[in-house]
């Protein structure tokens, strides 16, 4: 009873609440004996962050974010308690995590034409991790870019082109490349408007001069290929094409069936007229399966992050489909209300993030048990969201590239609920450096004209790599991201 009286007396002066600070990261954990602390309810994130830094006694303050019941604290504790109807007398469990530091611009690689696709090869990238036994030393990070001029380029971190794919006359892509991925440190897959998927062998000699040589051409799509997903351990590729089909391919020449004759380049008039005297004859193969159920162009096709026998595809026909790749069967269809233009899997939350033409990202639960189609909506972009990538360091993080010329970092814990359901807000927005250099940072480009982002890739080592209409690859990195991983 006396305690009650005491707390009420305190309430008059300054309401206080008992908080228990926890974290899941050991390097920043508080000493074991730190019990609940009584803090004023007026505190906000910054004050709490200072408090934790003091408790840790770190010489260099680290910014922290605070999570109460799985959502970020964006107001004062007092307001949070009021909003959620929590009594100030309970002990509040607050989890703290390192705040994401603002991603800073590291470098930009200038291209000759719009850059439509990009991928990263680093020690932490999937391609390297898949390469069994391959040792990938630090400082050998490579960045792959596919451009509208039909060329693939390999860059090192000091913005030097190490290798360029052969031109159309030498067995290269005859039209714009729309997607490109490292399959392994030595193999690259690319696809584009010439309706082919090409596999390249990438070799690099000691003096940083690489060579990209065609390895295999895969025919089967009847329209431009928009997206490409690789799963190296099973040697499988998944493509989404404008001909409404999802292509399932093998990267091994031996596995792949023969290419359909009618789709080979010499079948049509164009080949007759402008005979491409390709000096190199590349083997041609067909798809393992063409998965057709979509009624619109397929904009994205990905493998399930955990199970390579499951594929997901998103299409302009508003639907998201789940495929069983073993039997090439359609498992499930989720229909949304907008055209879907990009797709990413968040395996830990069993969610699929789909970027739409309606300027937002929908998080969809693909499991059959899910009751609602859209679990969450991430709003903030002002144009179509065409590229998505996972945060390599956090299961909650996500980055999106949009035609509005920005990349936005999202944390699915940073949400609020409004009339449309759960809506998330972006944590950071990365603008194009090219705009900044032109001195038009503030000028709003209508429809992201000239600065559209076509592809984004987030690697733990390299950072955020985005490619766009400004003919550049732009690398951004939050300093804290790296430092936290080093520890």
């Amino acid at each position: 009873m006396s305690g009650d009286q005491e707390s009420s007396a305190v309430n008059v002066a300054q309401r206080q609440v008992r908080v228990q600070l926890t974290t899941q990261q050991e390097d920043i954990a508080l000493p074991e004996n730190t019990g609940p602390i009584l803090v004023p309810t007026g505190l906000r994130r910054y004050a709490l962050s200072t408090l934790v830094n003091n408790l840790l006694g770190s010489e260099k303050p680290v910014p922290f974010e605070f999570l109460i019941n799985g959502t970020f604290l964006r107001t004062s504790i007092d307001e949070y308690l009021t909003d959620h109807g929590i009594s100030a007398e309970t002990t509040l469990e607050i989890e703290y995590v390192r705040a994401l530091t603002p991603p800073l611009h590291i470098a930009s690689f200038q291209h000759d034409d719009w850059v439509s696709a990009t991928d990263v090869l680093s020690s932490t990238s999937p391609a390297a991790s898949w390469a069994s036994g391959a040792t990938f030393s630090k400082g050998q990070e490579r960045i792959l870019s596919g451009s509208y001029d039909g060329l693939l380029r390999i860059w090192n971190m000091s913005s030097e082109t190490i290798a360029t794919s052969p031109a159309a006359s030498e067995g290269g892509h005859t039209a714009s490349i729309k997607a490109a991925k490292f399959v392994s440190p030595n193999q690259i897959a690319s696809a584009g408007l010439d309706r082919t998927v090409r596999l390249w062998k990438y070799t690099e000699d000691d003096d940083f001069v690489g060579k990209i040589t065609p390895q295999l051409d895969l025919y089967g799509h009847k329209a431009g290929i928009e997206s490409l997903a690789v799963h190296a351990p099973s040697n499988r590729l998944l493509t989404g094409s404008s001909d409404h089909n999802v292509g399932f391919w093998s990267t091994k020449k031996a596995d792949a069936p023969a290419a359909p004759e009618n789709l080979l380049p010499n079948a049509a008039r164009t080949s007759k007229r402008r005979k491409l005297n390709t000096s190199v004859s590349t083997p041609q193969r067909g798809p393992l399966a063409l998965l057709s159920a979509h009624t619109g162009p397929v904009s994205a096709a990905i493998f399930d992050a955990k199970d390579s026998t499951v594929g997901y595809s998103a299409s302009w026909d508003h639907s998201l489909r789940t495929w069983d790749l073993v039997t090439s069967a359609l498992v499930d269809t989720r229909t949304t209300s907008h055209s879907l233009l990009s797709l990413e899997h968040l395996p830990e939350h069993s969610l699929l993030a789909a970027g739409t033409a309606a300027r937002h990202i929908t998080l969809i639960d693909p499991r059959a048990s899910a009751t609602t189609v859209a679990a969450m909506t991430l709003r903030g972009h002002t144009n179509a969201v065409v590229s998505l990538a996972r945060d390599p360091s956090s299961t909650y993080g996500l980055i999106s590239g949009s035609h509005d010329g920005t990349c936005r970092i999202w944390d699915i814990r940073s949400t609020k609920t409004d009339k449309d359901g759960v809506v998330g807000e972006s944590v950071y927005s990365i603008a194009r450096k090219s705009l900044e250099e032109e001195g038009k940072v503030d000028s709003k480009r209508v429809g992201g004209e000239g600065v559209k982002v076509f592809s984004v890739c987030w690697d733990q080592t390299v950072g955020i790599v985005s490619a766009g209409e400004d003919k550049r690859i732009q690398i951004n990195r939050g300093e804290g991201v790296l430092s936290s991983n080093k520890v």
Partner: protein, 764 residues
């Protein structure tokens, strides 16, 4: 004097004394003589009197003379029934004035003219005036026969009977029987008194002086010297009793202390007050009758001695003086004068009266009919645009590349490519989402590409474009996969054989104006770029519209100089054939503007400047006429689900006079709805194809697009509901032109627009 008096007496009895006298004295039979004798007997005075009266009457008027005579005649006629010779006296009467000499003399006056000098009138006692006054029969103008049964013939002025004069023998006998009557003067007086109803007592003076038995003068001294009795000082018991009675009555309410008010009113009613406005009926509101506004009653401020809190402070006063008189909140400042006598005259009196008169003169009050309606309630109940999502809201992509205006654009049936044509003579194909140009061909160096249209259907990729006089059918390379590209080429190439089998017309035919043109192969340069067929039309086609099956397309050359017979052409791709279905110009409204095939029926709709006509091509009949009422139709579009789901055909029409009109063809020839939201001409209108989204859009020269929701319901009873959704702005106005063409994505709620500023925009 006696005789005269006697005659006078006789006269006093009746006027006919003279005749009576005649009767008295003379022979009855010789009345004429009698009369003459009578007149002779009469003294001079009477004669002269008669003469006088006559002359006098004549002097006044001839008519009066006659009247006089008539009167006499009448009186005579009274006698006539009893008299056998009525004429005789009359004659004498009549003859008298004739016989008499005129009572005037003619003298020469100073000017030598005739002058009538009349005798002087002798105002004698015997003059006719008194006679007539005294003895006139007063019965008035009634026939005397009424008195036949009576002894009298009337009444004199004193109310006495005028006895009928005795006549004939009876009279004579009477006179004879009577001794010569000697009446003394006294007897005569007596008779006269009797006659006059006067007292006959001798010496009676009716006018004796008044003896005042009760004086009007107040006596000063009391009559009695007795002291005042006590009772005069004692209150009267009787009075007290009566007062008590009254008091009691008042208490009981029998007597009211005041008169009841209605009594007073009644009393007031006696007093006539003329209330001018009493019966004024309230007049109904009329434009010519505006009642004066009711002014509020004066408040403290208007007082000459207002409470101090109403008096303005210095600052307020200064502020008031500085503001313009028109802007002042009130026209006066409260002023304290202390007492009424210190109030000065109103200085602005004259000015105010003048202004008031000026107002009345210059600004007659006109009633502004103020509607007391909640403006919200007038708005039609439209669903909120939020509920009608999706529709395009923002610009997603800008397509840059054309130099000069982009005149036309079209999204291909798969919804991936966008074709545009512009003033630089190029046709370009773009990736719709990213805005990447994939293919371009320069069709003409000088002429602009006026229109580009993809062939419908996904089995082939054929783009029809019109540049200058020529039509081009192209298959953009590397857009579609080889199979479809081959199929497209096959479709076009199939016609060459057909055309070859029909020999080209002779040179003579070719000279004729309306010979269909031959389809020719393009130059190698164009052929390399992807152009397959060129159709030289000789006139500039401004509109291309494909039939849904993709075998036909219709072109319209809307130039004013185009002959009517070749303005509209239907081209058959499979036969390489061009036909001109119309020989004559469409009636009413200038050259044809644009034409479209009906999406499901074999009907071709052709618009000229003012009307749209639907022709059944298989029966060659005019089936529909639509008159939008626009002055110059720029474009129209047919609802894609027209006549398929049930419901009628719906057409939207855009016009250069800024109107967008929705027509329900089953409803009326006239527009179902007119939408006037643009400031400048509407260039293009388009329904969302496929009917997946009930949207339509228009493009205007004011640089904006407007998106509408127009859902067509299946049942015939309800009309289409049209909701304006969004104005899309972004195109710059270049040379008075804004947005020139518009198209929808075939599946999505996205639209693309072509601007005069050289850009195309994708809106999503």
């Amino acid at each position: 004097m006696d005789a005269r008096k006697a005659s006078k007496k006789r006269k006093a009895v009746t006027r006919d004394v003279e005749e009576e006298a005649g009767v008295f004295s003379g022979d009855e039979l010789s009345a004429e003589n009698l009369d003459g004798a009578l007149s002779d007997n009469n003294n001079d005075l009477s004669e002269s009197e008669e003469e006088d009266s006559d002359s006098e009457i004549e002097l006044i008027d001839d008519f009066s003379d006659e009247d006089d005579e008539d009167e006499e005649e009448e009186l005579d006629s009274d006698e006539i029934p009893s008299d056998t010779e009525p004429v005789a006296p009359k004659k004498t009467q009549k003859s008298t004035p004739v016989n008499e000499e005129p009572n005037y003399r003619i003298v020469k006056d100073a000017n030598g003219n005739e002058r009538y000098l009349y005798d002087e009138i002798n105002p004698d006692d015997n003059s006719d005036y008194s006679d007539v006054e005294e003895n006139a029969n007063t019965i008035g103008d009634i026939p005397l026969s009424f008195y036949d049964l009576y002894p009298h013939i009337g009444y004199d002025i004193n109310g006495k009977r005028i006895m009928r004069p005795a006549k004939g023998e009876a009279l004579d006998a009477l006179l004879d029987s009577i001794e010569p009557l000697e009446l003394s003067q006294e007897e005569l007086e007596l008779l006269k008194k009797v006659q006059m109803n006067e007292s006959t007592i001798d010496g009676y003076n009716p006018y004796e002086p008044l003896v005042e038995s009760f004086s009007s003068q107040l006596e000063i001294m009391p009559l009695s010297a007795a002291p005042e009795p006590k009772r005069r000082f004692v209150p009267s018991k009787h009075e007290a009793k009566r007062v008590m009675k009254i008091v009691k009555a008042i208490r009981e309410g029998r007597i009211l202390p005041y008169r009841p008010p209605e009594e007073r009113e009644e009393k007031e009613e006696d007093l006539i007050n003329y209330d001018l406005w009493a019966d004024e009926v309230e007049r109904p509101d009329h434009i010519m009758h505006i009642p004066a506004p009711k002014l509020p009653p004066p408040g403290y401020e208007e007082s000459y001695h207002p409470p101090p809190e109403y008096l303005p402070e210095k600052k307020e006063r200064k502020e008031w003086e500085q503001t313009d008189p028109e802007d002042r909140e009130k026209e006066f400042l409260p002023n304290d004068f202390g007492s009424l006598r210190r109030v000065p005259g109103y200085e602005n009196f004259v000015k105010e009266k003048f202004e008031r008169c000026l107002d009345l003169y210059l600004a007659p009050r006109v009633r502004r009919s103020k509607l007391n309606i909640d403006p919200e309630s007038l708005l039609p109940k439209l669903p909120s645009p939020e509920e009608l999502k999706p529709f395009p809201t923002t610009c997603a992509t800008v397509f840059r590349g054309h130099k000069g205006r982009v005149r036309s654009l079209n999204v291909d049936p798969t919804g991936i490519w966008l074709a545009t044509g512009g003033d630089d003579g190029t046709v370009r194909v773009w990736e719709i989402l990213t805005g990447r140009q994939l293919w371009s061909v320069k069709l003409s160096d000088e002429d602009a590409v006026n229109v580009v249209r993809w062939r419908p259907g996904k089995d082939a990729v054929i783009l029809a474009a019109a540049a200058g006089d020529d039509l081009f059918l192209t298959v953009p390379p590397m857009i579609a996969d080889p199979e479809i590209e081959k199929a497209s080429l096959d479709i076009i190439d199939a016609g060459w054989g057909y055309a070859a089998s029909n020999p080209p017309p002779s040179a003579a035919d070719a000279n004729k104006k309306n010979t269909p043109p031959q389809w020719i192969r393009p130059s190698s340069e164009l052929a390399d770029a992807g152009v397959c067929v060129v159709i030289p039309l000789r006139y500039v086609p401004k509109s291309i519209s494909w039939h849904r099956r993709g075998d036909y397309f219709v072109t319209v050359c809307s130039g004013a100089s185009t002959p009517a017979s070749v303005a509209i052409a239907i081209h058959t791709v499979s036969k390489h054939l061009t036909q001109y279905p119309f020989r004559r110009r469409l009636k009413g409204g200038g050259p044809p503007q644009t034409a479209h095939f009906h999406p499901s029926k074999p009907i071709l709709f052709v618009a000229n400047q003012r009307s749209i006509r639907g022709y059944d091509l298989s029966r060659q009949l005019l089936v529909k006429i639509v008159q939008p009422g626009a002055r110059w139709i720029s474009s129209f579009d047919i609802h894609p689900t027209s006549s398929t789901a049930s419901g009628g055909d719906n057409i939207i029409v855009g016009s250069y006079d800024r109107r967008l009109l929705w027509h329900d063809l089953d409803l009326s020839q006239r527009p179902y709805k007119t939408l006037r939201y643009h400031r400048k001409a509407i260039r293009a209108v388009k329904f969302h194809p496929g009917g997946r989204y009930p949207l339509f859009a228009d493009a205007s020269d004011d640089g904006s697009l407007q998106i509408f929701h127009g859902s067509v319901t299946g049942d015939m009873l309800s009309n289409a509901s049209i909701v304006p959704l969004k104005v899309l702005k972004g195109h710059k106005i270049t040379g008075e032109l804004g947005v020139l063409d518009i198209d929808w994505h075939p599946r999505e709620a996205w639209c693309v627009s072509a601007g005069a500023d050289g850009t195309c925009r994708l809106w999503m």
